[in-house]
Protein backbone atom coordinates (compact mmCIF):
# COMPACT_ATOMS: atom_id res chain seq x y z
CA UNK A 1 0.00 0.00 0.00
CA UNK A 2 2.70 2.46 1.10
CA UNK A 3 6.28 1.94 -0.05
CA UNK A 4 9.28 3.95 1.02
CA UNK A 5 12.17 3.26 -1.36
CA UNK A 6 15.74 4.34 -0.66
CA UNK A 7 14.58 7.53 1.03
CA UNK A 8 17.24 10.18 1.63
CA UNK A 9 16.41 13.35 3.53
CA UNK A 10 18.86 16.04 4.59
CA UNK A 11 18.58 19.28 6.53
CA UNK A 12 21.12 21.78 5.25
CA UNK A 13 23.52 19.10 4.08
CA UNK A 14 23.22 16.97 7.22
CA UNK A 15 21.60 13.62 6.51
CA UNK A 16 18.55 12.90 8.67
CA UNK A 17 17.38 9.77 6.83
CA UNK A 18 19.67 7.55 4.76
CA UNK A 19 18.62 5.00 2.18
CA UNK A 20 15.53 4.01 4.15
CA UNK A 21 13.26 1.40 2.57
CA UNK A 22 10.20 -0.33 3.97
CA UNK A 23 6.71 -1.42 3.00
CA UNK A 24 3.36 -1.13 4.71
CA UNK A 25 0.91 -3.69 3.31
CA UNK A 26 -2.84 -3.16 3.06
CA UNK A 27 -4.51 -3.55 6.46
CA UNK A 28 -1.21 -3.84 8.31
CA UNK A 29 0.01 -1.90 11.30
CA UNK A 30 3.69 -1.15 10.95
CA UNK A 31 5.70 0.41 13.77
CA UNK A 32 8.64 2.77 13.36
CA UNK A 33 10.61 2.97 16.59
CA UNK A 34 13.94 4.36 17.65
CA UNK A 35 15.52 7.02 19.84
CA UNK A 36 15.01 10.78 19.55
CA UNK A 37 16.50 12.20 16.40
CA UNK A 38 16.57 8.83 14.64
CA UNK A 39 14.65 10.24 11.67
CA UNK A 40 11.17 8.88 12.44
CA UNK A 41 9.28 12.17 12.26
CA UNK A 42 11.42 13.24 9.31
CA UNK A 43 10.24 10.15 7.44
CA UNK A 44 6.59 10.99 8.13
CA UNK A 45 7.14 14.63 7.12
CA UNK A 46 8.74 13.48 3.88
CA UNK A 47 5.78 11.19 3.16
CA UNK A 48 3.37 14.10 3.75
CA UNK A 49 5.28 16.42 1.44
CA UNK A 50 6.36 18.78 4.22
CA UNK A 51 10.01 18.14 3.33
CA UNK A 52 11.35 17.38 -0.14
CA UNK A 53 13.57 14.29 -0.07
CA UNK A 54 17.04 14.43 -1.52
CA UNK A 55 16.59 11.04 -3.07
CA UNK A 56 14.45 7.93 -3.16
CA UNK A 57 10.76 7.54 -3.70
CA UNK A 58 7.52 7.28 -1.74
CA UNK A 59 4.67 5.40 -3.40
CA UNK A 60 1.05 5.04 -2.48
CA UNK A 61 -0.46 2.01 -4.20
CA UNK A 62 2.32 2.18 -6.77
CA UNK A 63 2.04 5.91 -7.55
CA UNK A 64 4.77 8.28 -6.43
CA UNK A 65 3.63 11.10 -4.13
CA UNK A 66 7.01 12.85 -4.00
CA UNK A 67 6.78 16.50 -5.01
CA UNK A 68 3.12 16.85 -4.10
CA UNK A 69 1.98 19.59 -1.74
CA UNK A 70 0.91 18.44 1.75
CA UNK A 71 -2.76 19.10 0.97
CA UNK A 72 -2.49 17.03 -2.21
CA UNK A 73 -0.83 14.15 -0.36
CA UNK A 74 -3.69 14.30 2.15
CA UNK A 75 -6.16 14.29 -0.74
CA UNK A 76 -4.47 11.28 -2.29
CA UNK A 77 -5.42 9.26 0.78
CA UNK A 78 -2.68 9.59 3.40
CA UNK A 79 -3.73 11.10 6.73
CA UNK A 80 -1.31 12.21 9.44
CA UNK A 81 -2.05 12.49 13.14
CA UNK A 82 0.71 15.01 13.85
CA UNK A 83 3.05 15.08 16.80
CA UNK A 84 1.55 17.13 19.61
CA UNK A 85 -1.99 16.41 18.30
CA UNK A 86 -2.33 19.84 16.68
CA UNK A 87 -6.04 20.12 17.26
CA UNK A 88 -7.59 23.55 16.74
CA UNK A 89 -8.19 24.65 20.33
CA UNK A 90 -10.36 27.65 19.42
CA UNK A 91 -12.68 25.58 17.22
CA UNK A 92 -15.32 23.19 18.47
CA UNK A 93 -14.80 19.43 18.44
CA UNK A 94 -17.30 19.22 15.58
CA UNK A 95 -15.48 21.89 13.54
CA UNK A 96 -12.22 20.01 14.05
CA UNK A 97 -13.90 16.91 12.64
CA UNK A 98 -15.32 18.89 9.71
CA UNK A 99 -11.78 19.96 8.87
CA UNK A 100 -10.95 16.28 8.50
CA UNK A 101 -13.37 16.17 5.56
CA UNK A 102 -11.15 18.63 3.69
CA UNK A 103 -9.06 15.72 2.41
CA UNK A 104 -12.06 13.80 1.12
CA UNK A 105 -11.97 13.47 -2.62
CA UNK A 106 -15.77 13.50 -2.70
CA UNK A 107 -15.70 16.50 -0.31
CA UNK A 108 -18.84 15.18 1.35
CA UNK A 109 -19.42 14.63 5.01
CA UNK A 110 -21.90 11.92 5.72
CA UNK A 111 -23.59 11.00 8.96
CA UNK A 112 -22.44 7.41 8.48
CA UNK A 113 -18.75 8.38 8.53
CA UNK A 114 -19.19 10.47 11.64
CA UNK A 115 -21.09 7.68 13.34
CA UNK A 116 -18.37 5.13 12.52
CA UNK A 117 -15.80 7.40 14.13
CA UNK A 118 -18.05 8.15 17.11
CA UNK A 119 -18.29 4.40 17.67
CA UNK A 120 -14.51 4.24 17.98
CA UNK A 121 -14.30 7.38 20.08
CA UNK A 122 -17.56 7.99 22.01
CA UNK A 123 -15.91 10.89 23.82
CA UNK A 124 -15.74 12.84 20.57
CA UNK A 125 -19.50 12.58 20.10
CA UNK A 126 -20.21 13.45 23.71
CA UNK A 127 -18.16 16.66 23.56
CA UNK A 128 -18.88 17.58 19.94
CA UNK A 129 -20.14 21.09 20.69
CA UNK A 130 -17.35 21.99 23.13
CA UNK A 131 -14.23 23.93 22.33
CA UNK A 132 -11.50 21.43 21.53
CA UNK A 133 -9.11 23.34 23.80
CA UNK A 134 -11.28 22.40 26.79
CA UNK A 135 -10.59 18.68 26.25
CA UNK A 136 -7.97 16.77 28.23
CA UNK A 137 -4.78 15.62 26.50
CA UNK A 138 -6.09 12.09 25.99
CA UNK A 139 -9.40 13.34 24.63
CA UNK A 140 -7.58 15.68 22.26
CA UNK A 141 -5.50 12.76 21.00
CA UNK A 142 -8.69 10.79 20.33
CA UNK A 143 -10.09 13.80 18.50
CA UNK A 144 -6.90 14.08 16.43
CA UNK A 145 -7.19 10.42 15.38
CA UNK A 146 -10.92 10.78 14.72
CA UNK A 147 -10.25 13.88 12.60
CA UNK A 148 -7.76 11.91 10.49
CA UNK A 149 -10.15 8.95 10.13
CA UNK A 150 -13.15 10.90 8.82
CA UNK A 151 -11.05 11.63 5.74
CA UNK A 152 -11.33 7.84 5.07
CA UNK A 153 -7.60 7.57 4.34
CA UNK A 154 -5.97 4.57 2.68
CA UNK A 155 -3.07 4.95 5.09
CA UNK A 156 -3.08 6.48 8.56
CA UNK A 157 0.22 7.88 9.86
CA UNK A 158 0.61 8.61 13.56
CA UNK A 159 3.51 10.62 14.99
CA UNK A 160 4.05 9.68 18.65
CA UNK A 161 0.38 9.62 19.65
CA UNK A 162 1.25 8.62 23.23
CA UNK A 163 3.67 11.51 23.79
CA UNK A 164 2.97 13.41 26.99
CA UNK A 165 0.02 11.25 28.00
CA UNK A 166 -0.42 9.53 31.36
CA UNK A 167 -0.12 5.70 31.39
CA UNK A 168 -3.88 5.14 31.61
CA UNK A 169 -4.48 7.46 28.68
CA UNK A 170 -1.74 5.68 26.72
CA UNK A 171 -3.86 2.53 27.19
CA UNK A 172 -6.83 4.37 25.69
CA UNK A 173 -4.78 5.40 22.66
CA UNK A 174 -3.33 1.92 22.04
CA UNK A 175 -6.78 0.35 22.50
CA UNK A 176 -8.07 2.78 19.91
CA UNK A 177 -5.29 1.77 17.50
CA UNK A 178 -6.18 -1.90 17.95
CA UNK A 179 -9.77 -1.05 17.03
CA UNK A 180 -8.56 1.00 14.06
CA UNK A 181 -6.78 -2.15 12.87
CA UNK A 182 -10.02 -4.13 13.17
CA UNK A 183 -11.53 -1.69 10.66
CA UNK A 184 -8.91 -2.80 8.15
CA UNK A 185 -7.19 0.60 8.02
CA UNK A 186 -3.50 0.57 7.11
CA UNK A 187 -1.39 2.20 9.82
CA UNK A 188 2.18 3.47 10.09
CA UNK A 189 2.87 4.20 13.76
CA UNK A 190 5.88 6.21 14.90
CA UNK A 191 6.43 5.73 18.62
CA UNK A 192 8.94 5.92 21.43
CA UNK A 193 7.09 3.31 23.49
CA UNK A 194 8.95 0.46 21.86
CA UNK A 195 7.51 -2.51 23.71
CA UNK A 196 3.87 -1.58 23.26
CA UNK A 197 4.43 -0.71 19.63
CA UNK A 198 6.22 -3.97 18.86
CA UNK A 199 3.44 -5.91 20.63
CA UNK A 200 0.72 -4.15 18.63
CA UNK A 201 2.26 -3.91 15.18
CA UNK A 202 2.51 -6.67 12.57
CA UNK A 203 6.11 -5.57 12.07
CA UNK A 204 8.27 -2.91 13.66
CA UNK A 205 11.32 -1.30 12.18
CA UNK A 206 13.99 0.04 14.48
CA UNK A 207 15.75 3.06 13.04
CA UNK A 208 18.75 4.92 14.40
CA UNK A 209 20.78 7.71 12.83
CA UNK A 210 18.39 7.73 9.91
CA UNK A 211 19.04 4.11 8.97
CA UNK A 212 17.00 0.94 9.29
CA UNK A 213 18.68 -1.26 11.88
CA UNK A 214 16.36 -4.15 12.64
CA UNK A 215 12.93 -5.61 12.03
CA UNK A 216 10.98 -6.86 15.02
CA UNK A 217 7.81 -8.97 15.22
CA UNK A 218 5.24 -9.08 18.05
CA UNK A 219 6.98 -12.13 19.52
CA UNK A 220 10.01 -9.96 20.24
CA UNK A 221 8.06 -7.59 22.48
CA UNK A 222 8.78 -9.60 25.61
CA UNK A 223 12.30 -10.54 24.61
CA UNK A 224 14.03 -7.91 26.72
CA UNK A 225 17.51 -8.77 25.51
CA UNK A 226 16.48 -8.31 21.89
CA UNK A 227 14.65 -5.04 22.61
CA UNK A 228 17.62 -3.58 24.46
CA UNK A 229 20.00 -4.76 21.77
CA UNK A 230 17.80 -3.11 19.15
CA UNK A 231 18.35 0.25 20.81
CA UNK A 232 22.02 -0.20 21.53
CA UNK A 233 22.98 -1.63 18.17
Amino acid sequence: MLSVLGLDVAYGGIAAVRDLSFDVGRGEIVGLIGPNGAGKSTTLNAIMGLITPRGGDIRLAGTSVVGRKPEDVARSGIALVPEGRRIFADLTVEENLRLGYAARRDGESTEADSEAVFELFPIVKEFRSRHAGALSGGQQQQLAIARALVARPDVLLLDEPSLGLSPTVVDVVFDALARVRERGITVLLVEQRAQRTVALADRSYVIANGELRLTLTPGDANDTAKMVAAYLS
Binding site: P82, L91, A102, A151
Partner: protein, 302 residues
Protein backbone atom coordinates in the same frame (compact mmCIF):
# COMPACT_ATOMS: atom_id res chain seq x y z
CA UNK B 1 -26.39 69.65 21.74
CA UNK B 2 -23.16 69.06 23.62
CA UNK B 3 -21.80 66.41 25.92
CA UNK B 4 -19.92 67.61 28.99
CA UNK B 5 -16.71 69.59 28.89
CA UNK B 6 -15.40 68.47 25.53
CA UNK B 7 -18.35 69.98 23.72
CA UNK B 8 -18.66 67.07 21.32
CA UNK B 9 -21.79 67.36 19.25
CA UNK B 10 -23.98 64.45 18.22
CA UNK B 11 -22.95 65.22 14.68
CA UNK B 12 -19.30 64.58 15.58
CA UNK B 13 -20.29 61.31 17.27
CA UNK B 14 -22.18 60.08 14.22
CA UNK B 15 -19.33 61.15 11.90
CA UNK B 16 -16.89 59.33 14.18
CA UNK B 17 -18.95 56.16 13.98
CA UNK B 18 -18.91 56.55 10.20
CA UNK B 19 -15.12 56.91 10.16
CA UNK B 20 -14.82 53.97 12.55
CA UNK B 21 -16.98 51.87 10.20
CA UNK B 22 -14.75 52.64 7.19
CA UNK B 23 -11.60 51.92 9.21
CA UNK B 24 -13.15 48.68 10.47
CA UNK B 25 -13.58 47.55 6.84
CA UNK B 26 -9.93 48.34 6.12
CA UNK B 27 -8.91 46.54 9.30
CA UNK B 28 -10.80 43.43 8.19
CA UNK B 29 -9.13 43.59 4.78
CA UNK B 30 -5.69 43.82 6.36
CA UNK B 31 -6.53 41.32 9.11
CA UNK B 32 -7.85 38.61 6.76
CA UNK B 33 -4.66 38.56 4.71
CA UNK B 34 -2.52 38.71 7.84
CA UNK B 35 -4.44 35.72 9.19
CA UNK B 36 -3.54 33.38 6.34
CA UNK B 37 -0.23 34.83 5.10
CA UNK B 38 1.19 36.36 8.31
CA UNK B 39 1.79 39.35 6.09
CA UNK B 40 1.08 42.93 7.13
CA UNK B 41 0.04 44.45 3.85
CA UNK B 42 1.20 48.04 4.00
CA UNK B 43 0.20 48.37 0.32
CA UNK B 44 -3.48 48.01 1.24
CA UNK B 45 -3.93 51.76 1.02
CA UNK B 46 -2.65 51.76 -2.57
CA UNK B 47 -5.39 49.31 -3.50
CA UNK B 48 -7.87 51.86 -2.15
CA UNK B 49 -5.98 54.58 -4.06
CA UNK B 50 -6.16 52.60 -7.31
CA UNK B 51 -9.90 52.11 -6.81
CA UNK B 52 -10.29 55.84 -6.21
CA UNK B 53 -8.47 56.65 -9.47
CA UNK B 54 -10.75 54.19 -11.25
CA UNK B 55 -13.74 56.11 -9.89
CA UNK B 56 -12.15 59.43 -10.89
CA UNK B 57 -11.64 58.23 -14.46
CA UNK B 58 -15.15 56.80 -14.51
CA UNK B 59 -16.57 60.19 -13.58
CA UNK B 60 -14.26 61.94 -16.10
CA UNK B 61 -15.51 59.61 -18.86
CA UNK B 62 -19.12 60.13 -17.71
CA UNK B 63 -19.62 56.43 -17.21
CA UNK B 64 -22.91 55.45 -15.56
CA UNK B 65 -22.58 55.16 -11.79
CA UNK B 66 -22.94 51.37 -11.67
CA UNK B 67 -20.39 50.88 -14.44
CA UNK B 68 -17.99 53.21 -12.65
CA UNK B 69 -18.27 51.26 -9.41
CA UNK B 70 -17.85 47.96 -11.28
CA UNK B 71 -14.72 49.42 -12.94
CA UNK B 72 -13.37 50.36 -9.51
CA UNK B 73 -13.97 46.83 -8.18
CA UNK B 74 -12.38 45.27 -11.28
CA UNK B 75 -9.24 47.41 -11.00
CA UNK B 76 -8.81 46.71 -7.28
CA UNK B 77 -9.38 42.96 -7.68
CA UNK B 78 -6.92 42.66 -10.58
CA UNK B 79 -4.27 44.71 -8.79
CA UNK B 80 -4.77 42.71 -5.61
CA UNK B 81 -4.43 39.34 -7.35
CA UNK B 82 -1.34 40.61 -9.18
CA UNK B 83 0.23 41.71 -5.89
CA UNK B 84 -0.52 38.28 -4.47
CA UNK B 85 0.89 36.30 -7.39
CA UNK B 86 3.92 38.47 -8.15
CA UNK B 87 5.05 39.41 -4.65
CA UNK B 88 3.25 37.78 -1.71
CA UNK B 89 3.18 34.13 -2.76
CA UNK B 90 6.81 33.86 -3.83
CA UNK B 91 7.81 35.49 -0.52
CA UNK B 92 5.44 33.44 1.63
CA UNK B 93 8.17 31.32 3.17
CA UNK B 94 10.30 34.35 4.03
CA UNK B 95 10.47 36.08 7.38
CA UNK B 96 7.77 38.62 8.36
CA UNK B 97 10.38 41.40 8.11
CA UNK B 98 11.10 40.55 4.47
CA UNK B 99 7.40 40.48 3.64
CA UNK B 100 6.73 43.77 5.44
CA UNK B 101 9.53 45.52 3.57
CA UNK B 102 8.24 44.00 0.32
CA UNK B 103 4.79 45.50 0.96
CA UNK B 104 6.43 48.87 1.70
CA UNK B 105 8.18 48.62 -1.64
CA UNK B 106 4.95 47.71 -3.43
CA UNK B 107 3.13 50.58 -1.70
CA UNK B 108 5.62 53.26 -2.70
CA UNK B 109 6.08 51.79 -6.16
CA UNK B 110 2.35 52.06 -6.80
CA UNK B 111 2.28 55.55 -5.35
CA UNK B 112 5.17 56.61 -7.61
CA UNK B 113 3.46 55.09 -10.64
CA UNK B 114 0.30 57.04 -9.80
CA UNK B 115 2.35 60.22 -9.45
CA UNK B 116 4.07 59.70 -12.82
CA UNK B 117 0.94 58.64 -14.65
CA UNK B 118 -1.65 60.97 -13.20
CA UNK B 119 0.38 63.87 -11.79
CA UNK B 120 0.49 65.40 -8.33
CA UNK B 121 -2.58 67.62 -8.63
CA UNK B 122 -5.15 64.92 -8.37
CA UNK B 123 -8.33 64.04 -10.17
CA UNK B 124 -11.88 64.52 -9.07
CA UNK B 125 -14.23 61.62 -8.42
CA UNK B 126 -17.57 63.32 -8.09
CA UNK B 127 -20.20 60.87 -9.33
CA UNK B 128 -21.58 60.24 -5.87
CA UNK B 129 -21.16 63.82 -4.65
CA UNK B 130 -24.85 64.17 -3.84
CA UNK B 131 -24.30 61.80 -0.90
CA UNK B 132 -22.52 64.66 0.88
CA UNK B 133 -25.85 66.44 1.37
CA UNK B 134 -27.14 66.23 4.89
CA UNK B 135 -30.34 64.73 6.19
CA UNK B 136 -31.78 66.10 9.41
CA UNK B 137 -32.65 63.57 12.08
CA UNK B 138 -34.07 65.26 15.15
CA UNK B 139 -31.98 68.43 15.34
CA UNK B 140 -28.82 66.76 14.03
CA UNK B 141 -27.57 67.17 10.46
CA UNK B 142 -25.98 63.99 9.18
CA UNK B 143 -24.37 63.59 5.78
CA UNK B 144 -25.97 60.83 3.77
CA UNK B 145 -22.57 59.24 3.09
CA UNK B 146 -22.07 58.73 6.84
CA UNK B 147 -25.27 56.74 7.03
CA UNK B 148 -24.33 54.84 3.86
CA UNK B 149 -20.87 54.07 5.30
CA UNK B 150 -22.30 52.72 8.55
CA UNK B 151 -24.94 50.61 6.81
CA UNK B 152 -22.56 49.26 4.15
CA UNK B 153 -19.90 48.42 6.74
CA UNK B 154 -22.49 46.67 8.87
CA UNK B 155 -23.71 44.59 5.93
CA UNK B 156 -20.17 43.71 4.81
CA UNK B 157 -19.17 42.60 8.30
CA UNK B 158 -22.37 40.57 8.72
CA UNK B 159 -21.85 38.79 5.39
CA UNK B 160 -18.23 38.10 6.28
CA UNK B 161 -19.16 36.65 9.67
CA UNK B 162 -21.71 34.36 8.00
CA UNK B 163 -19.14 33.32 5.41
CA UNK B 164 -16.50 32.54 8.04
CA UNK B 165 -18.82 30.83 10.51
CA UNK B 166 -21.26 29.00 8.26
CA UNK B 167 -19.38 27.84 5.17
CA UNK B 168 -16.73 25.20 4.63
CA UNK B 169 -14.42 27.74 2.99
CA UNK B 170 -14.88 29.96 6.06
CA UNK B 171 -13.94 27.08 8.35
CA UNK B 172 -10.87 26.38 6.23
CA UNK B 173 -9.87 30.06 6.38
CA UNK B 174 -10.26 30.17 10.15
CA UNK B 175 -8.25 26.97 10.56
CA UNK B 176 -5.53 28.26 8.21
CA UNK B 177 -5.30 31.48 10.22
CA UNK B 178 -4.79 29.45 13.41
CA UNK B 179 -2.35 26.81 12.14
CA UNK B 180 -1.72 26.79 8.41
CA UNK B 181 0.59 23.77 8.40
CA UNK B 182 -1.87 21.50 10.20
CA UNK B 183 -4.74 22.78 8.06
CA UNK B 184 -2.80 21.79 4.92
CA UNK B 185 -2.02 18.38 6.38
CA UNK B 186 -5.77 17.88 6.72
CA UNK B 187 -6.24 18.65 3.03
CA UNK B 188 -7.13 22.36 3.22
CA UNK B 189 -5.93 23.87 -0.06
CA UNK B 190 -3.48 26.67 0.66
CA UNK B 191 -3.97 28.32 -2.73
CA UNK B 192 -7.72 28.51 -2.38
CA UNK B 193 -7.64 29.81 1.17
CA UNK B 194 -5.09 32.51 0.33
CA UNK B 195 -6.89 33.36 -2.91
CA UNK B 196 -10.19 33.76 -1.06
CA UNK B 197 -8.64 35.96 1.62
CA UNK B 198 -6.98 38.16 -1.01
CA UNK B 199 -10.19 38.40 -3.02
CA UNK B 200 -12.38 39.32 -0.04
CA UNK B 201 -9.75 41.79 1.09
CA UNK B 202 -9.85 43.36 -2.40
CA UNK B 203 -13.65 43.59 -2.35
CA UNK B 204 -13.42 45.44 0.96
CA UNK B 205 -10.72 47.78 -0.38
CA UNK B 206 -12.90 48.64 -3.38
CA UNK B 207 -15.86 49.31 -1.08
CA UNK B 208 -13.66 51.63 0.97
CA UNK B 209 -12.58 53.40 -2.24
CA UNK B 210 -16.18 54.19 -3.09
CA UNK B 211 -16.98 55.54 0.38
CA UNK B 212 -13.75 57.54 0.77
CA UNK B 213 -14.03 59.21 -2.63
CA UNK B 214 -17.42 60.57 -1.63
CA UNK B 215 -15.98 62.07 1.55
CA UNK B 216 -12.84 63.23 -0.19
CA UNK B 217 -13.42 63.53 -3.97
CA UNK B 218 -9.91 64.81 -4.75
CA UNK B 219 -7.90 61.68 -5.63
CA UNK B 220 -4.13 62.16 -5.29
CA UNK B 221 -1.27 59.60 -5.33
CA UNK B 222 -1.20 59.60 -1.52
CA UNK B 223 -4.93 58.95 -1.31
CA UNK B 224 -5.77 56.74 1.72
CA UNK B 225 -2.09 56.57 2.76
CA UNK B 226 -2.68 58.32 6.07
CA UNK B 227 -5.82 56.26 6.66
CA UNK B 228 -3.85 53.04 6.13
CA UNK B 229 -1.22 54.02 8.67
CA UNK B 230 -3.90 54.88 11.21
CA UNK B 231 -5.76 51.61 10.51
CA UNK B 232 -2.56 49.56 10.84
CA UNK B 233 -1.97 51.19 14.22
CA UNK B 234 -5.57 50.39 15.13
CA UNK B 235 -5.22 46.77 14.07
CA UNK B 236 -2.14 46.33 16.25
CA UNK B 237 -3.75 48.21 19.14
CA UNK B 238 -6.85 46.04 18.91
CA UNK B 239 -4.96 42.76 18.64
CA UNK B 240 -3.55 41.47 15.40
CA UNK B 241 -3.90 37.77 16.09
CA UNK B 242 -7.65 37.65 15.84
CA UNK B 243 -9.81 39.10 13.12
CA UNK B 244 -12.42 40.27 15.62
CA UNK B 245 -9.98 42.21 17.79
CA UNK B 246 -8.24 43.63 14.73
CA UNK B 247 -11.59 44.86 13.42
CA UNK B 248 -12.54 46.33 16.77
CA UNK B 249 -9.16 48.08 16.84
CA UNK B 250 -9.82 49.55 13.40
CA UNK B 251 -13.22 50.80 14.46
CA UNK B 252 -11.91 52.16 17.75
CA UNK B 253 -9.09 54.16 16.20
CA UNK B 254 -11.43 55.60 13.58
CA UNK B 255 -13.97 56.53 16.24
CA UNK B 256 -11.38 58.07 18.58
CA UNK B 257 -9.73 59.86 15.67
CA UNK B 258 -13.12 61.33 14.71
CA UNK B 259 -13.86 62.39 18.28
CA UNK B 260 -10.45 64.00 18.76
CA UNK B 261 -10.84 65.79 15.45
CA UNK B 262 -14.22 67.10 16.57
CA UNK B 263 -13.06 68.06 20.06
CA UNK B 264 -9.96 69.96 18.97
CA UNK B 265 -10.60 73.56 17.96
CA UNK B 266 -10.14 73.83 14.20
CA UNK B 267 -6.99 75.98 14.52
CA UNK B 268 -5.34 73.14 16.48
CA UNK B 269 -6.24 70.22 14.24
CA UNK B 270 -2.58 69.73 13.32
CA UNK B 271 -2.14 68.23 16.80
CA UNK B 272 -4.53 65.36 16.01
CA UNK B 273 -1.90 62.82 14.81
CA UNK B 274 0.28 63.56 17.86
CA UNK B 275 -2.62 62.93 20.23
CA UNK B 276 -3.73 59.84 18.33
CA UNK B 277 -0.35 58.15 18.09
CA UNK B 278 0.54 59.19 21.66
CA UNK B 279 -2.59 57.30 22.67
CA UNK B 280 -1.52 54.34 20.51
CA UNK B 281 1.84 54.15 22.30
CA UNK B 282 0.13 54.41 25.68
CA UNK B 283 -2.26 51.54 24.89
CA UNK B 284 0.56 49.38 23.54
CA UNK B 285 2.59 49.96 26.71
CA UNK B 286 -0.31 48.86 28.88
CA UNK B 287 -1.65 46.06 26.67
CA UNK B 288 1.03 44.94 24.21
CA UNK B 289 -1.04 41.99 22.98
CA UNK B 290 -3.88 44.26 22.04
CA UNK B 291 -6.58 46.26 23.74
CA UNK B 292 -9.24 43.63 23.07
CA UNK B 293 -7.08 40.48 23.26
CA UNK B 294 -7.96 37.89 25.86
CA UNK B 295 -5.20 37.50 28.41
CA UNK B 296 -1.56 37.03 27.47
CA UNK B 297 -1.33 35.44 24.05
CA UNK B 298 1.43 34.72 21.62
CA UNK B 299 2.98 37.89 20.26
CA UNK B 300 3.53 38.03 16.53
CA UNK B 301 6.94 39.42 15.78
CA UNK B 302 5.87 41.79 13.09
Amino acid sequence: MTLGLLSISWQVIVDSIGLGAVYALMAVGIGLVFGVLRLVNFAYGQLVMAGAYALAFASQWDLPLVVGIAFCFAIVIVLSLLMDIVVFRPLRAQSPAVMLVATFAVAFLLQSIALLAFGPLGKSASSLGYLNRPVTIGDVDIRKITIVAIVVAGICLLVLVLLLERTTMGLHMRAAAMDFRTARLLGVRADRVIGSAVLISALLAATVSVILTVQNPLVTPDFALRDTIVVLAGVVVGGMNRLLTATMGGFAIGFVSGLLGGALPSDQSQYLPSFLFGLVILVLLVRPNGLFARGPGPVERV
